[in-house]
Symmetry: C2
Subunit: 295 residues, 2 copies
Amino acid sequence: MTITIGYIGLGIMGRPMALNLLQAGYSLRVWARRKASLDPLLRAGAKACDSIAELARECNIVFLNVSDTRDVETLVLGDDSLGQHLHPGSVVVDHSTIDPAAARHINARLAEREVGMLDAPVSGGETGAIAGTLSIMVGGETPVFERVVRLLRVVGDNIVHVGGPGAGQLCKACNQIVVAQTIAAVAEAFVLCEASGVDATKVREALLGGFASSRILDVHGQRMLDHDYQPGFKALLHQKDLGIALNAAAEVGVALPGAAQAAQWVNALVGSGGGELDSAAIADVLRRLNGMVRE
Amino acid sequence: MTITIGYIGLGIMGRPMALNLLQAGYSLRVWARRKASLDPLLRAGAKACDSIAELARECNIVFLNVSDTRDVETLVLGDDSLGQHLHPGSVVVDHSTIDPAAARHINARLAEREVGMLDAPVSGGETGAIAGTLSIMVGGETPVFERVVRLLRVVGDNIVHVGGPGAGQLCKACNQIVVAQTIAAVAEAFVLCEASGVDATKVREALLGGFASSRILDVHGQRMLDHDYQPGFKALLHQKDLGIALNAAAEVGVALPGAAQAAQWVNALVGSGGGELDSAAIADVLRRLNGMVRE
Protein backbone atom coordinates (compact mmCIF):
# COMPACT_ATOMS: atom_id res chain seq x y z
CA MET A 1 0.00 0.00 0.00
CA THR A 2 1.32 3.42 -0.96
CA ILE A 3 1.84 5.64 2.04
CA THR A 4 0.53 9.17 1.86
CA ILE A 5 1.38 11.18 4.94
CA GLY A 6 -0.66 14.02 6.37
CA TYR A 7 0.96 16.48 8.79
CA ILE A 8 -0.79 18.95 11.09
CA GLY A 9 1.22 21.08 13.50
CA LEU A 10 4.21 22.64 11.74
CA GLY A 11 5.78 24.55 14.62
CA ILE A 12 9.30 24.42 16.08
CA MET A 13 9.17 20.62 16.32
CA GLY A 14 6.70 19.67 13.59
CA ARG A 15 8.33 21.61 10.77
CA PRO A 16 11.75 19.90 10.88
CA MET A 17 10.15 16.51 11.57
CA ALA A 18 7.84 16.87 8.55
CA LEU A 19 10.77 18.05 6.42
CA ASN A 20 12.71 14.93 7.40
CA LEU A 21 9.79 12.75 6.22
CA LEU A 22 9.68 14.64 2.91
CA GLN A 23 13.43 14.29 2.47
CA ALA A 24 13.13 10.56 3.10
CA GLY A 25 10.98 10.45 -0.03
CA TYR A 26 7.47 10.28 1.41
CA SER A 27 4.54 12.06 -0.18
CA LEU A 28 3.25 14.71 2.22
CA ARG A 29 -0.03 16.62 2.57
CA VAL A 30 -0.20 19.53 5.00
CA TRP A 31 -2.94 21.66 6.48
CA ALA A 32 -2.73 24.54 8.94
CA ARG A 33 -4.99 27.18 10.36
CA ARG A 34 -2.22 29.77 9.72
CA LYS A 35 -1.43 29.25 6.03
CA ALA A 36 1.98 30.98 6.36
CA SER A 37 3.26 28.08 8.48
CA LEU A 38 2.88 25.84 5.40
CA ASP A 39 5.38 27.78 3.25
CA PRO A 40 8.62 25.97 4.22
CA LEU A 41 6.91 22.62 3.58
CA LEU A 42 5.34 23.66 0.26
CA ARG A 43 8.72 24.92 -0.95
CA ALA A 44 10.15 21.50 -0.09
CA GLY A 45 7.49 19.67 -2.11
CA ALA A 46 4.52 19.09 0.20
CA LYS A 47 0.98 19.63 -1.08
CA ALA A 48 -1.44 21.93 0.80
CA CYS A 49 -4.94 20.72 1.65
CA ASP A 50 -7.85 23.16 1.98
CA SER A 51 -9.42 21.37 4.91
CA ILE A 52 -8.81 18.70 7.53
CA ALA A 53 -11.43 16.60 5.72
CA GLU A 54 -9.48 16.76 2.45
CA LEU A 55 -6.24 15.82 4.22
CA ALA A 56 -7.97 12.94 5.98
CA ARG A 57 -9.38 11.56 2.73
CA GLU A 58 -6.06 11.76 0.85
CA CYS A 59 -3.80 10.29 3.56
CA ASN A 60 -3.46 6.96 5.32
CA ILE A 61 -1.04 8.09 8.04
CA VAL A 62 -1.58 11.43 9.75
CA PHE A 63 0.92 13.00 12.13
CA LEU A 64 -0.14 15.55 14.73
CA ASN A 65 2.28 17.88 16.47
CA VAL A 66 0.22 20.50 18.29
CA SER A 67 0.24 22.26 21.63
CA ASP A 68 -2.22 20.64 23.96
CA THR A 69 -4.89 18.08 24.75
CA ARG A 70 -7.75 20.31 23.56
CA ASP A 71 -6.11 20.82 20.13
CA VAL A 72 -5.72 17.09 19.61
CA GLU A 73 -9.30 16.38 20.72
CA THR A 74 -10.64 19.03 18.33
CA LEU A 75 -8.57 17.80 15.38
CA VAL A 76 -9.42 14.14 15.93
CA LEU A 77 -12.89 14.12 17.46
CA GLY A 78 -14.40 17.54 16.66
CA ASP A 79 -16.76 18.61 13.85
CA ASP A 80 -15.39 17.83 10.39
CA SER A 81 -12.40 16.20 12.06
CA LEU A 82 -9.89 13.49 11.15
CA GLY A 83 -12.00 10.95 13.01
CA GLN A 84 -14.93 11.59 10.67
CA HIS A 85 -13.00 11.53 7.39
CA LEU A 86 -10.10 9.08 7.74
CA HIS A 87 -10.50 5.77 5.91
CA PRO A 88 -10.69 2.61 8.02
CA GLY A 89 -7.18 1.17 8.31
CA SER A 90 -5.57 4.61 8.56
CA VAL A 91 -3.35 5.59 11.48
CA VAL A 92 -3.02 8.78 13.51
CA VAL A 93 0.39 9.33 15.12
CA ASP A 94 0.21 12.02 17.79
CA HIS A 95 3.58 13.59 18.60
CA SER A 96 1.92 16.20 20.85
CA THR A 97 2.38 15.99 24.62
CA ILE A 98 -1.09 15.53 26.10
CA ASP A 99 -2.93 13.97 29.01
CA PRO A 100 -2.45 10.14 29.06
CA ALA A 101 -6.12 9.59 29.91
CA ALA A 102 -7.18 11.75 26.95
CA ALA A 103 -4.82 9.78 24.69
CA ARG A 104 -6.50 6.53 25.80
CA HIS A 105 -9.93 8.03 25.19
CA ILE A 106 -9.08 9.33 21.70
CA ASN A 107 -7.49 5.97 20.85
CA ALA A 108 -10.67 4.13 21.86
CA ARG A 109 -12.91 6.48 19.86
CA LEU A 110 -10.78 6.06 16.71
CA ALA A 111 -10.72 2.30 17.20
CA GLU A 112 -14.53 2.31 16.87
CA ARG A 113 -13.99 3.58 13.30
CA GLU A 114 -11.13 1.11 12.67
CA VAL A 115 -8.56 3.91 12.67
CA GLY A 116 -5.36 3.10 14.54
CA MET A 117 -3.66 5.55 16.86
CA LEU A 118 -0.29 5.90 18.53
CA ASP A 119 0.54 8.41 21.22
CA ALA A 120 4.16 9.22 20.37
CA PRO A 121 5.48 12.26 22.25
CA VAL A 122 9.14 13.10 21.76
CA SER A 123 12.15 14.39 23.69
CA GLY A 124 15.29 15.96 22.31
CA GLY A 125 14.20 19.49 21.43
CA GLU A 126 14.48 21.45 18.19
CA THR A 127 18.08 20.25 17.70
CA GLY A 128 16.99 16.62 17.84
CA ALA A 129 14.05 17.33 15.54
CA ILE A 130 16.32 18.88 12.91
CA ALA A 131 18.93 16.11 13.21
CA GLY A 132 16.31 13.33 13.24
CA THR A 133 17.70 12.07 16.54
CA LEU A 134 14.65 12.43 18.78
CA SER A 135 13.70 10.00 21.49
CA ILE A 136 10.13 8.82 20.77
CA MET A 137 7.96 7.30 23.51
CA VAL A 138 5.21 5.28 21.93
CA GLY A 139 1.93 4.01 23.35
CA GLY A 140 -0.53 1.94 21.32
CA GLU A 141 -1.32 -1.48 19.93
CA THR A 142 1.63 -3.51 18.60
CA PRO A 143 0.29 -4.05 15.04
CA VAL A 144 -0.24 -0.30 14.67
CA PHE A 145 3.25 0.38 16.03
CA GLU A 146 4.75 -2.10 13.59
CA ARG A 147 2.96 -0.50 10.68
CA VAL A 148 4.49 2.95 11.28
CA VAL A 149 7.78 2.27 13.06
CA ARG A 150 9.86 2.83 9.91
CA LEU A 151 8.38 6.33 9.64
CA LEU A 152 9.26 6.99 13.29
CA ARG A 153 12.83 5.93 12.51
CA VAL A 154 13.04 8.78 10.01
CA VAL A 155 12.52 11.38 12.74
CA GLY A 156 14.01 9.67 15.82
CA ASP A 157 16.83 7.34 16.75
CA ASN A 158 15.61 6.06 20.12
CA ILE A 159 12.14 4.68 19.54
CA VAL A 160 10.63 2.79 22.47
CA HIS A 161 7.25 1.08 22.31
CA VAL A 162 6.47 1.65 25.98
CA GLY A 163 3.09 -0.08 26.14
CA GLY A 164 -0.58 0.19 25.20
CA PRO A 165 -2.59 3.38 24.51
CA GLY A 166 -1.53 6.27 26.75
CA ALA A 167 1.77 4.65 27.81
CA GLY A 168 3.76 6.97 25.54
CA GLN A 169 2.16 10.01 27.18
CA LEU A 170 2.73 8.59 30.66
CA CYS A 171 6.39 8.04 29.72
CA LYS A 172 6.65 11.64 28.51
CA ALA A 173 5.15 12.80 31.81
CA CYS A 174 7.94 10.86 33.56
CA ASN A 175 10.49 12.48 31.26
CA GLN A 176 9.23 15.96 32.13
CA ILE A 177 9.23 15.43 35.90
CA VAL A 178 12.78 14.05 35.77
CA VAL A 179 13.95 16.91 33.56
CA ALA A 180 12.36 19.59 35.77
CA GLN A 181 13.79 18.13 38.97
CA THR A 182 17.24 17.66 37.45
CA ILE A 183 17.23 21.28 36.29
CA ALA A 184 16.23 22.38 39.80
CA ALA A 185 18.91 20.17 41.39
CA VAL A 186 21.66 21.58 39.17
CA ALA A 187 20.36 25.11 39.82
CA GLU A 188 20.55 24.54 43.58
CA ALA A 189 24.13 23.32 43.26
CA PHE A 190 25.12 26.39 41.25
CA VAL A 191 23.37 28.75 43.68
CA LEU A 192 25.30 27.14 46.54
CA CYS A 193 28.54 27.62 44.58
CA GLU A 194 27.81 31.23 43.76
CA ALA A 195 26.92 32.09 47.36
CA SER A 196 30.07 30.30 48.57
CA GLY A 197 32.46 32.01 46.15
CA VAL A 198 33.22 28.75 44.33
CA ASP A 199 33.46 28.66 40.53
CA ALA A 200 30.33 26.88 39.27
CA THR A 201 32.00 26.33 35.89
CA LYS A 202 34.61 24.14 37.58
CA VAL A 203 31.95 22.38 39.63
CA ARG A 204 29.97 21.53 36.48
CA GLU A 205 33.15 20.14 34.93
CA ALA A 206 33.90 18.01 38.00
CA LEU A 207 30.34 16.74 38.38
CA LEU A 208 30.16 15.71 34.71
CA GLY A 209 32.81 13.08 35.51
CA GLY A 210 30.88 11.38 38.33
CA PHE A 211 27.48 10.10 39.37
CA ALA A 212 25.92 13.57 39.22
CA SER A 213 26.45 13.58 35.46
CA SER A 214 23.40 14.18 33.30
CA ARG A 215 22.47 15.66 29.97
CA ILE A 216 20.76 18.47 31.94
CA LEU A 217 23.99 19.27 33.85
CA ASP A 218 25.80 19.34 30.54
CA VAL A 219 23.38 21.36 28.39
CA HIS A 220 21.15 23.28 30.83
CA GLY A 221 24.01 23.70 33.30
CA GLN A 222 25.96 25.55 30.61
CA ARG A 223 22.91 27.73 29.86
CA MET A 224 22.67 28.64 33.56
CA LEU A 225 26.36 29.60 33.68
CA ASP A 226 25.97 31.70 30.51
CA HIS A 227 22.67 33.20 31.70
CA ASP A 228 21.53 32.27 28.18
CA TYR A 229 17.91 31.17 28.30
CA GLN A 230 17.00 31.10 24.62
CA PRO A 231 14.80 28.03 24.25
CA GLY A 232 15.45 25.02 23.93
CA PHE A 233 12.25 24.18 25.62
CA LYS A 234 9.99 27.00 26.78
CA ALA A 235 9.03 27.27 30.45
CA LEU A 236 5.41 27.77 29.37
CA LEU A 237 5.36 24.35 27.73
CA HIS A 238 7.19 22.77 30.65
CA GLN A 239 4.53 24.24 32.94
CA LYS A 240 1.82 22.65 30.79
CA ASP A 241 3.62 19.27 30.79
CA LEU A 242 4.13 19.29 34.57
CA GLY A 243 0.42 19.98 34.92
CA ILE A 244 -0.24 16.87 32.81
CA ALA A 245 2.16 14.80 34.93
CA LEU A 246 0.74 15.95 38.27
CA ASN A 247 -2.81 15.33 37.01
CA ALA A 248 -1.84 11.85 35.87
CA ALA A 249 -0.35 11.23 39.33
CA ALA A 250 -3.47 12.54 41.07
CA GLU A 251 -5.59 10.26 38.90
CA VAL A 252 -3.81 7.15 40.19
CA GLY A 253 -3.44 8.63 43.69
CA VAL A 254 0.33 9.02 43.78
CA ALA A 255 2.22 11.76 45.66
CA LEU A 256 5.19 13.22 43.76
CA PRO A 257 6.59 15.80 46.20
CA GLY A 258 9.70 16.55 44.16
CA ALA A 259 7.80 17.08 40.93
CA ALA A 260 5.29 19.25 42.77
CA GLN A 261 8.09 21.43 44.13
CA ALA A 262 9.82 21.71 40.75
CA ALA A 263 6.46 22.72 39.24
CA GLN A 264 6.37 25.61 41.73
CA TRP A 265 9.68 26.95 40.37
CA VAL A 266 8.31 26.74 36.84
CA ASN A 267 5.17 28.58 37.99
CA ALA A 268 7.35 31.30 39.51
CA LEU A 269 9.39 31.51 36.30
CA VAL A 270 6.31 31.86 34.11
CA GLY A 271 4.64 34.21 36.60
CA SER A 272 7.65 36.51 36.61
CA GLY A 273 7.54 36.90 32.84
CA GLY A 274 9.86 34.06 31.86
CA GLY A 275 7.36 31.84 30.05
CA GLU A 276 9.20 32.19 26.75
CA LEU A 277 12.59 31.41 28.32
CA ASP A 278 14.18 27.97 28.42
CA SER A 279 13.25 26.22 31.63
CA ALA A 280 16.95 26.28 32.61
CA ALA A 281 15.95 29.77 33.85
CA ILE A 282 14.68 27.97 36.96
CA ALA A 283 18.23 28.82 38.07
CA ASP A 284 17.25 32.50 38.14
CA VAL A 285 14.15 31.70 40.22
CA LEU A 286 16.41 30.04 42.80
CA ARG A 287 18.94 32.86 42.55
CA ARG A 288 16.10 35.34 43.12
CA LEU A 289 14.73 33.31 46.04
CA ASN A 290 18.18 33.70 47.59
CA GLY A 291 18.58 37.39 46.77
CA MET A 292 21.23 36.71 44.16
CA VAL A 293 19.79 38.06 40.91
CA ARG A 294 20.68 41.30 39.20
CA GLU A 295 17.18 42.64 38.53
CA MET B 1 62.74 14.63 46.03
CA THR B 2 61.73 11.02 46.64
CA ILE B 3 58.07 10.63 47.36
CA THR B 4 57.05 8.47 50.28
CA ILE B 5 53.32 8.16 50.60
CA GLY B 6 51.41 7.66 53.83
CA TYR B 7 47.83 6.34 53.72
CA ILE B 8 45.25 6.43 56.52
CA GLY B 9 41.72 5.15 55.94
CA LEU B 10 41.76 1.82 54.12
CA GLY B 11 38.04 1.16 53.77
CA ILE B 12 35.89 0.48 50.71
CA MET B 13 37.34 3.48 48.90
CA GLY B 14 40.79 3.90 50.50
CA ARG B 15 41.95 0.32 50.04
CA PRO B 16 41.67 0.16 46.23
CA MET B 17 42.96 3.73 45.88
CA ALA B 18 46.04 2.93 48.02
CA LEU B 19 46.59 -0.29 46.06
CA ASN B 20 46.55 1.69 42.81
CA LEU B 21 49.28 3.98 44.20
CA LEU B 22 51.35 0.95 45.22
CA GLN B 23 50.89 -0.64 41.81
CA ALA B 24 52.03 2.60 40.18
CA GLY B 25 55.37 2.02 41.94
CA TYR B 26 55.13 4.41 44.88
CA SER B 27 56.51 3.55 48.28
CA LEU B 28 53.65 3.33 50.78
CA ARG B 29 53.39 3.54 54.58
CA VAL B 30 50.12 2.66 56.24
CA TRP B 31 48.64 3.03 59.70
CA ALA B 32 45.23 2.02 61.04
CA ARG B 33 43.46 1.74 64.35
CA ARG B 34 42.17 -1.71 63.27
CA LYS B 35 45.36 -3.53 62.29
CA ALA B 36 43.43 -6.14 60.23
CA SER B 37 42.51 -3.47 57.70
CA LEU B 38 46.23 -3.18 56.83
CA ASP B 39 46.57 -6.79 55.63
CA PRO B 40 45.66 -6.37 51.92
CA LEU B 41 48.10 -3.47 51.69
CA LEU B 42 50.94 -5.21 53.53
CA ARG B 43 50.55 -8.23 51.25
CA ALA B 44 50.88 -5.88 48.28
CA GLY B 45 54.13 -4.39 49.63
CA ALA B 46 53.17 -1.51 51.92
CA LYS B 47 54.98 -1.00 55.20
CA ALA B 48 53.04 -0.71 58.47
CA CYS B 49 53.74 2.14 60.88
CA ASP B 50 53.18 1.78 64.63
CA SER B 51 51.83 5.26 65.08
CA ILE B 52 50.57 8.32 63.25
CA ALA B 53 53.71 10.09 64.39
CA GLU B 54 55.96 7.47 62.76
CA LEU B 55 53.96 7.65 59.52
CA ALA B 56 54.14 11.45 59.57
CA ARG B 57 57.92 11.45 60.04
CA GLU B 58 58.57 8.92 57.26
CA CYS B 59 56.27 10.38 54.59
CA ASN B 60 56.07 13.60 52.64
CA ILE B 61 52.60 13.07 51.14
CA VAL B 62 49.85 11.69 53.34
CA PHE B 63 46.44 10.64 52.01
CA LEU B 64 43.39 10.50 54.28
CA ASN B 65 40.25 8.59 53.40
CA VAL B 66 38.11 8.46 56.54
CA SER B 67 34.46 8.83 57.46
CA ASP B 68 33.82 12.28 58.80
CA THR B 69 34.93 15.73 59.79
CA ARG B 70 35.78 14.72 63.37
CA ASP B 71 38.07 11.90 62.18
CA VAL B 72 40.01 14.26 59.93
CA GLU B 73 40.31 16.90 62.66
CA THR B 74 41.61 14.32 65.14
CA LEU B 75 44.12 12.83 62.69
CA VAL B 76 45.44 16.20 61.56
CA LEU B 77 45.05 18.53 64.55
CA GLY B 78 44.69 16.21 67.59
CA ASP B 79 47.27 15.01 70.12
CA ASP B 80 50.22 13.26 68.50
CA SER B 81 48.70 14.03 65.12
CA LEU B 82 49.97 14.49 61.58
CA GLY B 83 50.01 18.25 62.12
CA GLN B 84 52.53 17.86 64.91
CA HIS B 85 54.88 15.43 63.18
CA LEU B 86 54.85 16.16 59.45
CA HIS B 87 57.96 17.88 58.08
CA PRO B 88 57.53 21.36 56.64
CA GLY B 89 56.97 21.03 52.90
CA SER B 90 54.86 17.90 53.29
CA VAL B 91 51.32 17.69 51.91
CA VAL B 92 48.13 16.19 53.29
CA VAL B 93 45.58 15.11 50.65
CA ASP B 94 42.19 14.53 52.21
CA HIS B 95 39.90 12.31 50.12
CA SER B 96 37.30 12.21 52.92
CA THR B 97 34.00 14.06 52.47
CA ILE B 98 33.85 16.66 55.24
CA ASP B 99 32.51 20.08 56.07
CA PRO B 100 33.97 22.75 53.70
CA ALA B 101 34.47 25.20 56.58
CA ALA B 102 36.39 22.56 58.57
CA ALA B 103 38.53 21.87 55.50
CA ARG B 104 39.41 25.57 55.29
CA HIS B 105 40.22 25.64 59.00
CA ILE B 106 42.46 22.55 58.88
CA ASN B 107 44.19 23.91 55.80
CA ALA B 108 44.96 27.19 57.61
CA ARG B 109 46.28 25.41 60.70
CA LEU B 110 48.61 23.22 58.61
CA ALA B 111 49.79 26.24 56.63
CA GLU B 112 51.08 27.72 59.92
CA ARG B 113 53.47 24.74 60.06
CA GLU B 114 54.30 25.01 56.33
CA VAL B 115 52.43 21.82 55.56
CA GLY B 116 50.30 21.96 52.40
CA MET B 117 46.81 20.56 52.23
CA LEU B 118 44.30 19.68 49.53
CA ASP B 119 40.69 18.79 50.13
CA ALA B 120 40.11 16.19 47.43
CA PRO B 121 36.84 14.30 47.86
CA VAL B 122 35.91 11.84 45.14
CA SER B 123 32.89 10.55 43.24
CA GLY B 124 32.55 7.31 41.32
CA GLY B 125 32.10 4.71 44.04
CA GLU B 126 33.97 1.48 44.75
CA THR B 127 33.95 0.57 41.04
CA GLY B 128 35.66 3.83 40.14
CA ALA B 129 38.14 3.42 43.01
CA ILE B 130 39.16 -0.05 41.80
CA ALA B 131 39.38 1.02 38.15
CA GLY B 132 41.24 4.25 38.99
CA THR B 133 38.56 6.26 37.18
CA LEU B 134 37.28 8.45 40.02
CA SER B 135 36.23 12.03 39.64
CA ILE B 136 38.34 14.11 42.10
CA MET B 137 37.20 17.56 43.23
CA VAL B 138 40.18 19.47 44.54
CA GLY B 139 40.39 22.55 46.72
CA GLY B 140 43.67 24.14 47.78
CA GLU B 141 46.55 26.34 46.67
CA THR B 142 47.76 25.92 43.09
CA PRO B 143 51.44 25.09 43.92
CA VAL B 144 50.29 22.33 46.28
CA PHE B 145 47.89 21.00 43.65
CA GLU B 146 50.66 20.98 41.05
CA ARG B 147 52.96 19.07 43.36
CA VAL B 148 50.58 16.13 43.82
CA VAL B 149 48.43 16.12 40.67
CA ARG B 150 50.35 13.20 39.13
CA LEU B 151 49.47 11.10 42.18
CA LEU B 152 45.81 12.07 41.81
CA ARG B 153 45.97 10.92 38.19
CA VAL B 154 46.85 7.43 39.44
CA VAL B 155 43.52 7.10 41.24
CA GLY B 156 41.19 9.27 39.13
CA ASP B 157 40.65 10.25 35.53
CA ASN B 158 38.61 13.44 35.95
CA ILE B 159 40.63 15.69 38.24
CA VAL B 160 39.34 19.23 38.61
CA HIS B 161 41.10 21.91 40.64
CA VAL B 162 37.89 23.67 41.67
CA GLY B 163 39.41 26.50 43.70
CA GLY B 164 41.07 27.42 46.99
CA PRO B 165 40.85 25.58 50.33
CA GLY B 166 37.40 24.07 50.90
CA ALA B 167 36.31 24.38 47.26
CA GLY B 168 36.73 20.64 46.71
CA GLN B 169 34.43 19.91 49.64
CA LEU B 170 31.88 22.47 48.47
CA CYS B 171 31.97 20.83 45.07
CA LYS B 172 31.39 17.41 46.64
CA ALA B 173 28.44 18.86 48.58
CA CYS B 174 27.04 19.99 45.21
CA ASN B 175 27.63 16.51 43.82
CA GLN B 176 25.72 14.91 46.67
CA ILE B 177 22.70 17.21 46.46
CA VAL B 178 22.46 16.64 42.70
CA VAL B 179 22.82 12.87 43.11
CA ALA B 180 20.18 12.68 45.88
CA GLN B 181 17.69 14.78 43.95
CA THR B 182 18.26 12.88 40.72
CA ILE B 183 17.69 9.59 42.54
CA ALA B 184 14.47 10.98 44.02
CA ALA B 185 13.33 12.28 40.62
CA VAL B 186 13.90 8.91 38.93
CA ALA B 187 12.16 7.17 41.84
CA GLU B 188 9.12 9.43 41.43
CA ALA B 189 8.97 8.64 37.73
CA PHE B 190 9.09 4.90 38.41
CA VAL B 191 6.45 5.12 41.15
CA LEU B 192 4.17 6.94 38.71
CA CYS B 193 4.77 4.20 36.12
CA GLU B 194 4.12 1.40 38.57
CA ALA B 195 0.89 2.98 39.83
CA SER B 196 -0.23 3.56 36.23
CA GLY B 197 0.47 0.03 35.00
CA VAL B 198 3.24 1.22 32.66
CA ASP B 199 6.48 -0.76 32.35
CA ALA B 200 9.19 1.29 34.13
CA THR B 201 11.89 -0.75 32.34
CA LYS B 202 10.69 0.62 29.01
CA VAL B 203 10.39 4.12 30.45
CA ARG B 204 14.01 4.00 31.68
CA GLU B 205 15.09 2.89 28.21
CA ALA B 206 13.14 5.70 26.52
CA LEU B 207 14.34 8.38 28.96
CA LEU B 208 17.99 7.36 28.55
CA GLY B 209 17.72 8.58 24.94
CA GLY B 210 16.55 12.10 25.79
CA PHE B 211 17.12 15.07 28.07
CA ALA B 212 16.18 13.07 31.19
CA SER B 213 19.26 10.93 30.67
CA SER B 214 21.69 10.70 33.58
CA ARG B 215 24.17 8.31 35.09
CA ILE B 216 21.70 7.94 38.00
CA LEU B 217 18.84 6.93 35.67
CA ASP B 218 21.18 4.41 34.10
CA VAL B 219 22.81 2.85 37.18
CA HIS B 220 20.48 3.61 40.11
CA GLY B 221 17.41 3.32 37.89
CA GLN B 222 18.40 -0.26 37.10
CA ARG B 223 18.91 -0.95 40.83
CA MET B 224 15.41 0.37 41.56
CA LEU B 225 13.90 -1.88 38.87
CA ASP B 226 15.82 -4.89 40.22
CA HIS B 227 15.04 -4.00 43.86
CA ASP B 228 18.79 -4.60 44.31
CA TYR B 229 20.14 -2.15 46.86
CA GLN B 230 23.59 -3.57 47.58
CA PRO B 231 25.83 -0.51 47.90
CA GLY B 232 27.24 1.26 45.80
CA PHE B 233 27.01 4.15 48.17
CA LYS B 234 25.37 3.63 51.55
CA ALA B 235 22.36 5.70 52.58
CA LEU B 236 24.04 6.33 55.94
CA LEU B 237 26.94 8.08 54.21
CA HIS B 238 24.62 9.95 51.90
CA GLN B 239 22.72 11.17 54.95
CA LYS B 240 25.98 12.44 56.42
CA ASP B 241 26.95 14.16 53.17
CA LEU B 242 23.56 15.86 52.79
CA GLY B 243 23.95 17.13 56.34
CA ILE B 244 27.27 18.68 55.30
CA ALA B 245 25.69 20.24 52.19
CA LEU B 246 22.71 21.69 54.06
CA ASN B 247 25.01 23.05 56.77
CA ALA B 248 27.23 24.63 54.15
CA ALA B 249 24.11 26.20 52.61
CA ALA B 250 22.90 27.47 55.99
CA GLU B 251 26.31 29.00 56.62
CA VAL B 252 26.07 31.19 53.52
CA GLY B 253 22.32 31.71 54.02
CA VAL B 254 21.06 29.84 50.97
CA ALA B 255 17.76 27.92 50.76
CA LEU B 256 17.97 24.59 48.93
CA PRO B 257 14.38 23.31 49.07
CA GLY B 258 14.97 20.36 46.73
CA ALA B 259 18.04 19.15 48.60
CA ALA B 260 16.19 19.54 51.90
CA GLN B 261 13.33 17.40 50.61
CA ALA B 262 15.66 14.72 49.23
CA ALA B 263 17.42 14.66 52.61
CA GLN B 264 14.07 13.79 54.19
CA TRP B 265 13.77 10.68 51.99
CA VAL B 266 17.27 9.63 53.02
CA ASN B 267 16.33 10.21 56.67
CA ALA B 268 13.27 8.00 56.21
CA LEU B 269 15.38 5.35 54.51
CA VAL B 270 17.96 5.30 57.30
CA GLY B 271 15.26 5.52 59.98
CA SER B 272 13.44 2.52 58.55
CA GLY B 273 16.56 0.36 58.80
CA GLY B 274 17.99 0.98 55.33
CA GLY B 275 21.19 2.80 56.33
CA GLU B 276 23.40 0.08 54.87
CA LEU B 277 21.46 -0.01 51.57
CA ASP B 278 22.41 1.91 48.48
CA SER B 279 20.66 5.26 48.41
CA ALA B 280 18.79 4.10 45.28
CA ALA B 281 16.50 2.56 47.92
CA ILE B 282 14.93 6.03 48.15
CA ALA B 283 12.63 4.43 45.54
CA ASP B 284 11.24 2.15 48.25
CA VAL B 285 10.64 5.13 50.54
CA LEU B 286 8.54 6.73 47.79
CA ARG B 287 6.83 3.40 47.04
CA ARG B 288 6.05 3.06 50.75
CA LEU B 289 4.76 6.64 50.94
CA ASN B 290 2.35 5.66 48.18
CA GLY B 291 1.35 2.31 49.70
CA MET B 292 3.18 0.36 47.03
CA VAL B 293 5.79 -1.69 48.88
CA ARG B 294 5.60 -5.37 49.75
CA GLU B 295 6.54 -5.21 53.42
